[in-house]
Assembly symmetry: C2
Homo-oligomer: 192 residues x 2
């Protein structure tokens, strides 16, 4: 998605340790016009898939998934929770997700009754790197017995293993910007 790649080059900032920061338009401040374009692009890529629910994880996925839903007939969006919230009750589906950044493993959960075997789910998230969060969401879909249409990712770091892990399971992953390397403060995309 050229618009997104240009935005990453223009407004993303590469910090010490070759960490890409996109907090001015994606995961702290959100550019809603850009999210509209991203939602439309996910809809083009998954056109024909009979998606009944979108699943994401708090917090950065929520805005992206909410806007994207409008391009899928405004299907309900579920955001999985990283903490045992008072907004959850009744029976839960729970999966373990390991955060390499924070060095902890935490429970990710959704209310069981929200996903059923009648659902076809699109998973949406902002980043795909080591893939742990995404594998957790996939596990929740499988626990529910729902069908998985695939995963829509805004930015994939293809130099990390997550995308390969998930595609090797036969799961469709559509990433709108695929970053092959971040070196010396410069972002490079796949195919360049």
């Amino acid at each position: 998605m050229e618009l997104l790649k240009q935005r990453i080059l223009n407004d993303g900032r590469v910090k010490e340790g070759n960490i890409l920061k996109v907090e001015t338009f994606l995961n702290h401040q959100m550019d809603i016009a850009l999210l509209d374009e991203i939602g439309a692009e996910f809809a083009r890529r998954f056109s024909g898939a009979p998606i009944t629910k979108i699943l994401t994880i708090e917090a950065s996925g929520i805005g992206i998934a909410a806007i994207a839903s409008r391009y899928f007939g405004s299907v309900p969006v579920i955001f999985a929770k990283k903490t045992k919230s008072k907004n959850l009750d009744g029976e839960l589906l729970v999966t373990k997700v390991h955060s390499f950044t924070k060095g902890v493993t935490y429970d990710v959960q959704i209310s069981k009754h929200l996903l059923t075997e009648d659902d076809t789910v699109l998973i949406i998230d902002d980043f795909l790197a080591k893939g742990q969060a995404l594998l957790g969401l996939i596990d929740l879909v499988e626990q529910a017995g729902a069908k998985l249409a695939g995963c829509g990712i805004v930015i994939e770091k293809t130099f990390q293993e997550g995308g390969g892990l998930i595609r090797n399971k036969g799961i469709r992953v559509e990433s709108l910007a695929m970053i092959s390397s971040i070196e010396n403060g410069e972002v490079h995309f796949d195919g360049e």
Copy 2:
């Protein structure tokens, strides 16, 4: 907002302790068509206010604010973070928010450069009860020297003190459903 009140009566569930649960359409699973109506209603109520940014707090406010932004010319949405996130860096604005539910006080923060004195801010959140989170967001707007157009709330519990505290500061609060009591498993709205 009649549609919202009906939805609360139809799909909200009152649990032990007279706690209202709206996780099937607002703060765990989100009904995007309903959020569209909510966004349009916020825009009607704040029409004429020269809003340049929407501020909310993770996690439940994010979807509501993202969809609402589309009715305010797709102004950027900032979501304040409850934890020191790797997505934040540089200088921060920080405020303390006390959670009565969890019995803890935590730091809520935004990147300082995202809000300036040139901004006119609309704060959006899902619930207003004791008002602590909203007071924290208001403090962040004041720290930034930005103007505050007001607060758009989906559900206010008017039997708790938050709405009064904030309106007494001269701040405009527009709540789309105002609940005057929850007793014996029944929800009652203001003016009924």
